[in-house]
């Protein structure tokens, strides 16, 4: 897939630096539209109540529930910026959740040690993907498909096919606790976003990532160690997946190797694309991806709170994906433009 697109884009002139409105405009407009619809039609959607110094309400719920996908989408954004993709993040979530739950029930290690070990394993998973892509030159879809298929098996190996449950207030805090009135997962996302943004926008790392995604050969000739950049982004993506895996595990106080993070890789990729990062790589929007994840979650919550049959969620999601893709497609814009001009004439 990437080869044909690569061949096509190599012939076209290099994209000019965008001078139009901010790339965040469209995703923000979509989110605003969704919220406005809710303001008009869903009573109580904007109602936020304070109980015991904690905030409750649909908006908070959206933030809280979107947290795992937001975390995944941060790592995924950088991977996609290098013209790659990581299909294994859902499986990595299951692996780390399984390891953490197993450690907390069988060992005497404290919560910080357990979380560190789980994140370490997630980092190893990411490194594995990165080595396959960067050093063995395997296509990202195939390379990460391997861990996606095997990963759930590994997670089930750790849990021995059971759903491991635990009682540990410290562990339960990660997904169910509150910090500054907001659910703790929101804090995790905010801190991760801040660190990622600082690392990529205040250092040359972001530039390296974009240059590898734009033209790997050229960036190698310019002295960028493209292999190391790729390994780094996949490792980071694994780490984000590990963090994301802590949340549902802690939330349900157990590890479900079969269902933890199932299909979330698709939601994460979707968030990134909705947020304005192209699958062709070379450019990325961290905040856009966060907005993308919020759009998906708002959509789901809206459908649920509107009393629409749950079964329609997927159909609506399909139409939204299509609409977003078409809006970003040059061909569709031109066609729509022509149609508009003809009407005006």
């Amino acid at each position: 897939m990437s080869t044909t697109q690569g061949a096509a884009s190599a012939i076209q002139p290099a994209p000019q630096k965008r001078k139009g409105p901010s790339p965040l405009l469209w995703p923000l407009a979509a989110l605003a539209l969704l919220l406005a619809l809710n303001l008009a039609f869903t009573p109580g959607f904007f109602h936020v109540s304070v109980k015991d110094g904690r905030l409750f309400g649909s908006l908070i719920d959206v933030l809280n529930r979107a947290a795992p996908v937001m975390l995944l989408s941060l790592g995924m954004t950088l991977v996609i910026a290098t013209r790659g993709v990581d299909l294994s993040v859902g499986a990595v979530m299951a692996i780390t959740g399984a390891l953490a739950a197993w450690l907390i029930t069988t060992s005497h290690a404290g919560v910080p040690a357990v979380v560190c070990m789980a994140l370490g394993l997630a980092l190893v998973c990411g490194l594995w993907n990165g080595v396959l892509v960067a050093f063995l030159d395997i296509q990202p879809i195939v390379a990460t498909l391997i861990l996606m298929v095997a990963g759930r098996g590994i997670a089930q190996l750790i849990t021995n096919g059971q759903i491991i449950t635990f009682e540990n207030p410290g562990m339960a805090f990660i997904g169910g606790g509150f910090f500054l009135g907001l659910p703790f997962p929101v804090t995790i996302v905010a801190v991760t976003l801040l660190i990622t943004a600082l690392l990529t926008r205040r250092t040359a790392l972001g530039l390296f990532i974009e240059s590898v995604g734009n033209n790997e050969t050229a960036s190698r000739y310019a002295g960028v160690n493209s292999a190391m950049v790729k390994v780094a982004v996949y490792a980071f993506c694994g780490l984000c997946a590990g963090l994301a895996g802590m949340i549902p595990m802690s939330d349900i106080k157990g590890a479900d190797a079969n269902n933890a993070g199932l299909y979330l890789e698709l939601d994460a990729i979707l968030s990134v694309v909705i947020g304005g990062t192209s699958l062709d790589g070379g450019r990325f929007q961290l905040v856009g991806s966060i907005i993308g994840a919020l759009i998906i979650q708002t959509l789901t919550t809206t459908i649920l709170s509107r009393g629409v049959q749950v079964e329609f969620t997927l159909v609506v999601k399909a139409l939204v994906v299509l609409a977003v893709c078409l809006l970003q497609s040059e061909g569709f814009r031109q066609m729509a433009g022509r149609h508009f001009v003809r009407k005006a004439a």
Partner: protein
């Protein structure tokens, strides 16, 4: 195209070799594994996976990807079940409707990919959500099919004396045979290879790149709809959540079968062997008894890794030659 079809068949023989090795190993290790009935079960138990993988092979050969096949199986199987069970439609008409719907959905995805230059990954992802969602809209529960014609279809077997081959296995074999012929000996098939080898070159040679691309996804849509029909015959029911995650198994089977995801190299017979390797692993783990089913996933992941590395090795060899 960079490599001739002859050179591209290296991975196919490697797959065949691994299949023979696994089969021989399992047959020696487990008494009763070599029985002809077990071999037939490889085909019938994996018939819907195989039929879907045949369609995916064309998509991968052209350098694209199709994530919608698993959802399509759920969608078409429930369409058939509801049409027969709730609306009293003749089973053959219901099957025809399901096949037409699948082809249409595939063609629509192909058109979006071609004419708006959208990434296949996202368009077929939307297709997957759409098909799965529509399946659930039609019916949340699975629905069994109790129609005399369907009973005949699911119980009929071709009697060859030593073995009896169920209809689903025959459909898989027919699909593989026809698709192999299409890929090798028709203009459409050669266009698919040309597209996957180098789309720009295919375009400059004057090949109908656009229509071919739409036809590829329509073909994959047809195959996955047929896979849904096969599922409905195999299980005598329709289930909107059938085939979930199957698209990745199908892609894995195709890659194990020697088709390159970059397109242009591979073929349908390899995909069949890839599907059979799936069957051996699953059956072998069942025969072992004390190994849990999740070992299947780990084994498939390892095999996928092995074959991807083998392909790299063959590609390097071909590039040097």
């Amino acid at each position: 195209m960079k490599f001739s079809l002859q050179k591209g068949s290296g991975p196919f023989y490697a797959t065949l070799f691994v299949f023979a090795l696994l089969y021989a190993g399992a047959a020696l290790h487990f008494p009763g594994f070599a029985a002809p009935g077990v071999f037939v079960d490889f085909f019938s138990d994996n018939a819907f996976l195989g039929v879907a993988a045949v369609g995916i092979t064309f998509v991968l050969l052209s350098g694209g990807i199709d994530l919608s096949v698993g959802a399509m199986i759920g969608f078409t199987s429930i369409v058939v079940a509801v049409l027969i069970g709730k609306h009293g439609v003749n089973p053959f008409v219901a099957i025809a409707v399901a096949l037409a719907l699948g082809t249409l959905l595939g063609a629509a995805m192909g058109a979006l990919i071609r004419y708006f230059a959208l990434p296949p990954f996202l368009v077929t992802l939307a297709g997957m959500f759409f098909a799965r969602g529509m399946g659930f809209v039609i019916s949340v529960e699975s629905l069994s099919i109790n129609h005399p014609v369907y009973t005949v279809l699911s119980e009929w077997k071709l009697n060859l004396g030593a073995v009896q081959i169920p209809l689903t296995a025959l459909i898989l074999l027919a699909a593989v045979a026809i698709a192999s012929y299409i890929a090798k000996y028709t203009r459409f098939g050669r266009n698919v290879y040309a597209l996957g080898g180098n789309t720009e070159a295919a375009n400059l040679m004057g090949l109908p790149v656009g229509p071919t691309q739409v036809r590829i996804y329509a073909f994959s849509g047809f195959c996955s709809a047929l896979a849904g029909v096969v599922y409905s015959i195999y299980s005598a029911s329709g289930n909107p959540s059938a085939g979930s995650g199957l698209e990745l198994d199908a892609i894995a089977a195709t890659v194990i079968g020697g088709t390159l995801l970059t397109g242009g190299v591979g073929g349908v017979p390899g995909t069949l062997v890839g599907v059979l390797i799936f069957g051996i692993i699953q059956t072998g783990i069942t025969f072992q008894g004390n190994l849990s089913s999740w070992w299947t996933k780990i084994a498939v992941g390892l095999l996928l890794l092995l074959f991807v590395l083998l392909q790299k090795f063959f590609m390097r060899g071909a590039a040097k030659a």
